[in-house]
Amino acid sequence: MTRRIVLTGVGWLVALAFLLPYLQMFVTALKPERELTRSPGTYLPSHWTWSNFTDVWSAAPVWTYMRVSLTVAAAATLVTLACAMPAAYYTARNRFRGRGAFLLLVLVTQMFAPTALVIGIYREMVALDLTDTLLSLILVNAAFNLPFCIWILHGYFSSIPKELEEAAFLDGAGRVRALTRVTLPISMPGVVTAIVYTFIAAWNEYIVALTVTASPDRRPLTVGIPSFVTQYQAHWQYLFATSLIAIIPVVVLFVFIERYLIGGLTAGSVK
């Protein structure tokens, strides 16, 4: 009984510690601008300036940033899934020459991050004349999230008994039909984990977008938001209001798949 009380207490303290920075973000987003230069700072806003949340939309092209982030994240997720699903399925179901090499390649590319290759990516995009395009961001985000998705899905597909599909073959279904009708529905937790993981990683990507895009209307939220605070202006309240607008939908998505996420990690990487 005391163990339960201690655990609950510790648990709630941990939760608070993790949420504190974001609560601070929320409180700062509600302060009037003149209060932000006060020293020492205030704990709570003297005047709860809810209008900050409506003013940001005209203070900067937030709507454009959001549209860019959405387009890039959604397209990258689609591309990743379209590439990862067949590869993960085939390698999970068949033993063939080159299978080991392919899985090794996936494992190795999983170890690379865009940050480490940004100079190469930048030079490649210059060579392909793709700088300042959304296509470049879509391709980079798709490629760098592909390995994790193949890994997760490979784990899921491998855990589904072959017999289930063989029964479908006997009923006259083809490979693709067996995949879409039998295997895919059972692997939904893995697919959902892959979708959300990729979407969020692309939504939050920073360095490649910072390097490759230049025009204001091709900047995602991560690159657009910091421009509220520069050497010429310091609208911290807008910065954090926009940050919350960008974070909350993503957090909701993540909370929604929390249960699948643990299963996905168990099947994909830990086992």
Binding site: L7, T8, G11, V14, A15, L16, F18, L19, P21, M25, R38, S39, P40, G41, C83, A84, P86, A87, Y89, Y90, R95, R99, G100, F102, L107, T109, M111, A113, T115, L117, V118, I119, G120, I121, Y122, R123, E124, A127, A143, F144, L146, P147, N204, Y206, I207, T211, T222, P226, S243, A246, I247, V250, F254, E258, I262, L265, T266, S269, V270, K271
Partner: protein, 314 residues
């Protein structure tokens, strides 16, 4: 890589009547439609930049980005001549080791907590996920604001608790700034590593613990003799992915200090970025990128050894 299973299969096939060349080619190409999209994407967006990076490091490139020709090892000579290079590399290693060790110790505890049963566990799990879902950049920016020397929450709380007498400009001093940034790196790493540990804990069957209880093992003994060894794969995966991420955690440093003052809080990634886009020295930056990449490759090799270790255990 030799796969013992394909080896067996090849032997079986050779005793069967030899299929025609056409059929054999057909069989060899059968995986292609399934793998080609992934291969194409990896080749063009991951492998091409690797080659491009190495090429860049050997070229003379003007400040406007025009290639002026081959330069041999000149960029490397320039890079190794930089006074800042050795401190930056050492700082990077310290940064990675410090952040990863602290993160792993804390996630082992957090994983246990998230796996235990208590009222409100779901909510605690959701709270722990938040820094993972939020972008690292925005988390770094809120910490920068909390550490602000005039209006920041950290100074306000410490003043009210009488720990300090006057506000401290935390991010202006390299030592203090590094410690705070390492804390932020730990904070954003904890969700992923804790969830991998949690996933690992859930693969341990309950009867193992029952057997330990029957043998009269205490909870501390059980943890070190049973839980920790069985968690080894999870700890391995979590720490290696964490090493790679921390190595590449550009946004934290970029948003909080920009590597400054001077290059006193730079790691290899911010140093590389500054060389290319501030000093307009793309060639030398390419050389830095290659050196950085070599460091990461060493870690990949360690990972592959660890992965093989997993196969042996299985």
């Amino acid at each position: 890589m030799r796969d013992p299973k394909t080896g067996e299969r090849g032997a079986a096939a050779s005793t069967a009547p030899r299929p025609s060349l056409l059929r054999r080619t057909g069989r060899a190409l059968a995986p292609l439609p399934w793998l080609a999209p992934s291969l194409a994407l990896i080749a063009t967006v991951v492998l091409w930049p690797v080659i491009e990076m190495v090429r860049t490091s050997l070229q003379k490139i003007s400040s406007s980005g025009v290639t002026l020709g081959y330069r041999g090892g000149g960029n490397y000579t320039d890079l190794f001549g930089e006074d800042d290079l050795v401190p930056v590399v050492l700082r990077t290693l310290l940064w990675v080791a410090g952040v990863v060790v602290i993160t792993m110790v804390l996630s082992l505890a957090l994983g246990q907590l998230l796996n235990a049963r208590f009222p409100g566990r779901r909510v605690v799990r959701w709270a722990v996920i938040v820094p993972w879902a939020a972008s690292v950049l925005m988390t770094a920016l809120i910490w920068k604001w909390m550490l602000d020397n005039y209006s920041g929450l950290v100074n306000r709380v410490l003043l009210d608790l009488h720990v300090i007498d006057e506000p401290v400009n935390w991010l202006a001093h390299p030592g203090q700034a590094m410690l705070w940034m390492m804390w932020v790196a730990v904070f954003v790493s904890l969700p992923f590593t804790s969830f991998v540990i949690l996933a690992g804990l859930q693969t341990i069957p309950a009867d193992v613990y029952e057997a330990a209880r029957v043998d009269g093992a205490g909870s501390v003994r059980t943890y070190f003799a049973i839980t920790l060894p069985l968690l080894r794969p999870a700890v391995l995966i979590a720490s290696i992915i964490n090493v790679i991420n921390v190595f590449n955690s550009f946004p934290i440093i970029w948003a909080m200090t920009g590597g400054g003052p001077g290059s006193k809080t730079d790691t290899t990634t911010t140093f590389m970025y500054k060389l290319a886009f501030y000093d307009q020295n793309v060639g030398e930056s390419g050389a830095m990128a290659v050196v950085n990449f070599a460091l990461i490759l060493v870690m990949v090799l360690l990972y592959l050894r660890a992965a093989r270790w997993r196969e042996e255990v299985r």
